[in-house]
Amino acid sequence: MMSLTLAWTPFLEPVGWVHTWWYLLIVPLSFGLGMMYKPMRMSRFDRYWREVGIFVGQVTLGVIAMGIALAVLTEFVLPLLPAE
């Protein structure tokens, strides 16, 4: 394990754990997008980090909701359709 960690070269080699935990990256992804988006929408920045946090929550919950809706559609609704 130690040798594997030392062998990884940042920015040259992809990180390995992403293949298992890739869906958690929605949080830093929406965080970065919020950091870029909110300054264009705000006239003053005293609530900047709060607004970015709300943005991250909205995006994360929105993606989770869409995932649940898609799962319901494919697992429960579509099987009810007649085969022919």
Binding site: F11, L12, V18, L25, L29, G32, M36, Y37, M40, R44
Partner: protein, 150 residues
Amino acid sequence: MPEHHSESRSGGGFAERPAAAFIAVVCAWLLPGLGHIVLGQRARGGRIMAGALFLIFSGLLIGGVDSVDRVDDRLWFYAQAVNGPIVLVADAVNQRYVKHLPPERQLDTKGLGRANEMGTLFIALAGLMNLAVIFDVVSRSAMPGAEAAA
């Protein structure tokens, strides 16, 4: 004291000075957020720059420089290229250095699966967001100073 007080810029809109507006747009492409800083909106530009650099370097960290590939991922590269020279340099490193490594070494550097997808996505979304930032620079450069700062 609210930071937006330091955002105001003296003088009329940049519509009266198209060359200055053009320079601001070019700066916004050269480095995300720099266009706003050129317009005198340092707090806004600094935050945009921090967000863009966070996304770009996170993408490169997750997927390696192979996340930027104008040959194998051409359509993604078009979106990524809106981030400016940072991405072009990453692609040059990938094309001229990483892709010429020995085959056994490329087993480690080639981004595959989720790592490549997420790294590519981070940088591409930063580019698309920077396109909105560039439009915002165009919009603000056409406004009078106080209105553009709002």
